[in-house]
């Protein structure tokens, strides 16, 4: 069964067309890197699929149904810079937010929820920072907190917007281990990614995007020099490294 089906999606910011006729299917248990140049519409694609940004045309279906009906099965890790880390709260509290849907609106969290959040923090190697102010965490630690928040959601399909951007090497390893674990447990993960050198190591599927889908499929089939050039255009300094 298809986890995610995107058909003919177009979107714009103001008058600029950002996405044009985007279509692809995602199979369960895949770990897909969404790759493309700046302004290719990678983040916009995530936001359109999650109905955080309006689409001009097309349709998106989750598990053969609508997002509204499958909300609890879809998890989202926004860009770290999308929130104000000066907000007065601690790491554990942010992770607990991932459980709010399960706790129920207008209900108070119970001890079991605190324990679940604590466990997710431990999985990300952040147990010692549970009570730490989020403003006092490093960028990598903040990203781990976001990952832990997504883990407690226990979704089947995850969207992550540049989780590896600007994080330290240890965090990158911890996050990639977690993503592979998710995949092994049958979860489907789509990650906006910007480092072309690690694409082959990290992802079993690639979606090459530049306003529209350039190529999509298994990494070994799709992540070819020709396709990358098609997505990025001519000015590519790193190509040498890629072909080496």
């Amino acid at each position: 069964m298809t986890v995610l089906q995107v058909r003919g999606v177009s979107a714009a910011y103001r008058k600029n067309n950002v996405l044009r006729d985007v279509s692809f299917d995602v199979q369960p248990g895949s770990l897909t890197g969404i790759v493309g140049p700046n302004g290719a519409g990678k983040s916009t694609l995530l936001k359109v699929m999650l109905e955080l940004h309006p689409k001009l045309a097309g349709s998106v279906s989750f598990f053969g149904s609508t997002l509204a009906r499958t909300k609890t099965r879809v998890g989202y890790v926004p860009q770290r810079g999308s929130v104000d880390w000066d907000f007065p709260t601690d790491a554990l509290d942010v992770v607990m937010m991932g459980l709010y849907g399960r706790i129920g609106w207008l209900r108070r969290p119970r001890r079991i929820h605190r324990e679940m959040a604590m466990e997710a923090l431990s999985r990300m190697g952040m147990a010692d920072y549970a009570g730490r102010q989020i403003s006092q965490l490093s960028g990598g630690q903040q990203q781990r907190v976001f990952l832990a928040r997504a883990l407690v959601q226990d979704a089947d399909l995850y969207f992550m917007d540049e989780p590896l951007a600007g994080v330290d090497a240890a965090t990158e390893r911890a996050i990639m281990e977690t993503l592979k674990e998710l995949k092994q447990n049958g979860k489907t993960v789509m990650v906006v990614h910007h480092d072309l050198q690690t694409v082959e190591d990290y992802f079993d599927h690639v979606l090459l995007l530049n306003r529209t889908v350039i190529a999509h499929g298994r990494t070994e089939d799709v992540f070819t020099k020709d396709n990358v050039i098609a997505a990025y255009g001519g000015a590519l300094r790193w190509l040498k490294e890629l072909s080496s």
Partner: protein
């Protein structure tokens, strides 16, 4: 101290206490929504509604005035939203336009109403700088009920507010409707403004929303404690300002409330436990000393302490 003994004055004190608490709490929401100035625009925008409501009904009935003020403030909010979304004008400019246009229009209407027969005795002038003493028992009841409602809404949906203010996109992903939360937020913001303008006045009402929450930020790193502390500061300044203004004849309440809350702000700015200037200075000094110690120590000490 005679004023204190009068039962009416006691009721008025109680009402400004709970008003201050409600606006302190809503102020925290506005603070993290980065909309402190919005509350100022909306309170100014309430004035024409108050005057029009009086002109239509002819008596100063609090529920009528509140309805007029709310309609007018909501119209201001909608216009700000419309200007921002349908033109290139940014939100701060849109708020500046609405604030001055609505307030100017309100003053114009007020001048006209005051010239008509009976207008002078209306006490409408009190809505500009606030005249808590002019409230009667019935007004106080209305205010208490509405302020309690606002406080209840904040507490009942506390974790929802926190999520909505920290990460609205993630909140939407969990199924918490952004439109609903925006609507409820605007509702409680307007409500606390309109119940406050008789006591504090349209010009200074925003101070009771902005200053307590900023002051509270200096003391704590927990959102819950920030809201509670802001309620305490707001309630304290509301009551304190009202108390001082009752000592004079016909002294307006609003300015004294603002002075009281500003005093709390200065104390917080200097001595606040989390971000206060004094604490920061002490921390900096301690850090400097420890750096100096590690540098003057034997070689290897620095490496040892760094690990």
């Amino acid at each position: 101290m005679n004023a204190l003994l009068s039962p009416n004055a006691q009721w008025v004190l109680l009402s400004t206490l709970i008003l201050g608490m409600a606006s302190g709490m809503i102020g925290c929401l506005a603070y993290w929504k980065r909309q402190s100035l919005m509350s100022d625009s909306l309170s100014h925008a309430a004035l024409p509604g108050v005057v029009i409501a009086f002109a239509i009904v002819g008596v100063k009935e609090m529920p009528v005035m509140i309805a007029g003020a709310a309609a007018s403030a909501l119209a201001g909010a909608l216009l700000i939203h419309w200007i921002r979304s349908s033109s290139r004008i940014k939100e701060d400019t849109a708020m500046g336009i609405i604030l001055s246009v609505f307030f100017g229009f309100g003053i114009m209407l007020l001048t006209i109403v005051n010239r008509t027969a009976g207008g002078n005795q209306s006490g409408l002038d009190g809505f500009i700088y606030g005249q808590a003493a002019s409230m009667v028992r019935k007004d106080v009841y209305t205010m208490l009920v509405l302020a309690a409602l606002v406080i209840l809404i904040v507490f009942a949906a506390f974790k929802e507010w926190k999520l909505f203010l920290f990460d609205p996109d993630f909140a939407k992903g969990l199924g918490l409707s952004r439109r609903l939360m925006d609507g409820v937020y605007l509702g409680v913001l307007v409500l606390v403004i309109v119940i406050g303008i008789q006591a504090v006045g349209v010009i200074l009402m925003a101070a009771l929303l902005i200053i307590p929450s900023v002051s509270a930020r200096y003391w704590t790193n927990s959102f819950r404690r920030m809201v509670l502390l802001s309620a305490l500061f707001g309630g304290g300044s509301g009551m304190g300002g009202t108390l001082i203004s009752t000592f004079g004849a016909n002294w307006p309440t609003g300015p004294f409330i603002v002075v009281a809350s500003s005093a709390l702000f200065v104390i917080s700015l200097l001595f606040g436990a989390q971000k206060g200037l004094l604490v920061k200075a002490i921390q900096l000094r301690a850090q400097k000393q420890s750096v100096a110690r590690s540098w003057s120590g034997e070689p290897g000490v620095k490496e040892g302490s760094a690990g």
